[in-house]
């Protein structure tokens, strides 16, 4: 197989710059690769040269699949950074293969009957190598997309206490929330009974409300409901004579904030599940 393909590989290697130039002209004007149209031509040509140079290495390697990885990953990373959509990146690869073959045909590389047989072998070999590169590029692209989503969700995931703690995370969250709610009860009692005031301390209630919504999504609203009922009940019992309106607004705000954050978190969880 390698002997047959050697002829094609020799041409590719010696004429890599020419073939890459032709490929660059095509890919930079092709309607299926619009993102390439604005890239610097030198950069595009270099990409082509790197690719064509890979061919000999892959053909000689005992494990061509492994040999292709360095190129494929770099190719995927470069294009991903330049925000080239995946379908364009793969179509550019297809054009690389097509130009290689066009060049060989144009040079009359496989003319006689025997050479036609070599052509079939070379074509098969070329396709196999391309298949490997395409697979690796697509796989890498997906990895990069997932990585980027992971990074964006990183801070939220930390707040959600996900990952390292596993099943212990659930118990810890429940324990922390119990402590938060106990503190809220004590604080309410102290403010309403001892200080006889309804203001300021309820701002601290947003901490458990926000955490509950982050951890449990829409179900987190029960914490807000509990705190809302706590404020109003305590007011009714200990702050007779002071109007209810202020505490009604505070309880309402807690429920609204808890509900909105819980709703947002459900969306984030779905995005996370998707990736």
């Amino acid at each position: 197989m390698q002997a047959y393909a050697a002829k094609l590989i020799d041409v590719i290697e010696s004429k890599a710059t020419n073939i890459s130039g032709q490929w660059a002209d095509d890919v930079m004007t092709h309607k299926r690769t619009p993102s390439y149209h604005s890239l610097p031509k030198d950069m595009v040509i270099n990409q082509g040269i790197n690719f064509y140079m890979l061919f000999r290495r892959m053909s000689m390697a005992e494990n061509p699949y492994e040999e292709a990885k360095t190129f494929s990953w770099q190719y995927a990373e470069d294009l991903y950074k330049k925000k080239i959509p995946l379908q364009e990146a793969t179509y550019a690869l297809m054009l690389l293969r097509r130009h290689l073959w066009l060049y060989a045909e144009f040079q009359g590389l496989f003319f006689t009957a025997l050479e036609k047989q070599q052509a079939v072998e070379s074509l098969n070999r070329t396709i196999l190598l391309f298949d490997y590169v395409s697979y690796q590029v697509i796989e890498k692209y997906q990895e990069l997309i997932i990585g980027s989503v992971e990074r964006r969700l990183g801070a939220i995931k930390t707040l959600m206490m996900k990952g390292r703690m596993g099943s212990e995370g659930g118990t810890l969250k429940a324990a922390l929330m119990t402590i938060f709610l106990l503190c809220a009860c004590l604080l309410t009692y102290y403010s309403h009974v001892t200080l006889k005031t309804e203001i300021l301390f309820t701002h601290l209630f947003y901490i458990p409300v926000i955490f509950a919504s982050i951890w449990w999504g829409k179900k987190g609203i029960f914490t807000a409901l509990f705190l809302g009922v706590l404020i109003l009940t305590s007011h009714a019992l200990f702050l007779t004579g002071i109007p209810f309106s202020g505490d009604i607004v505070r309880a309402g705000m807690l429920i609204v904030v808890g509900g909105v954050i819980g709703w947002l978190m459900e969306g984030i969880k779905k995005v996370e599940e998707m990736y």
């Binding site: 299926r32 959509p85 995946l86 379908q87 793969t90 179509y91 297809m94 293969r97 097509r98 073959w101 496989f110 009957a113 036609k116 047989q117 052509a119 079939v120 074509l123 098969n124 396709i127 298949d131 395409s134 697979y135 697509i138 796989e139 997906q142 997309i145 709703w263 947002l264 459900e266 969306g267 984030i268 779905k270 995005v271 998707m274």
Partner: protein, 156 residues
Amino acid sequence: MKAFTAKLVDLTQKNAETIARQWAKDVKTNEKTYTYHEESEEKIIRQAKYFYNNFQMMFFNESPYEQAKEVFEKYAEERYREGVPLHEALYALILMRRHMWLYAEFQSLFNVEVEHRQAVESLSRTILMFDYIMYVVTRQYWKLMKLECQAKENTR
């Protein structure tokens, strides 16, 4: 071109069931198509038969790219809904192409000298069709991923 390449496509069409079964065996054990390992064999054979039957129509269509869009956007959507990652879906397609060709070789379809020329023509045409298919499938996956992301954003 058509006369030369018809041989390969006709063979594939007539033996779609056999080729599909060989492909299914491969895809269910290949390390690059992990998601297919747990799928029922009959289900994935249906996938391959759908593919080979439509491939013939596309092959002889005057506008194969348009035909590819029509048929394989739906194919991509189905694989996407089944949760098959794009690289695996595309590798499964690559294996379909490979099995088509392996079957032709096994049947000694292009044996004598003149047939080697036909083989080159067939191979070139097949690759072109596959390039279209892979482009359409990748684009559709990309579109669906974006749509799903947007839908989640809106839910938020």
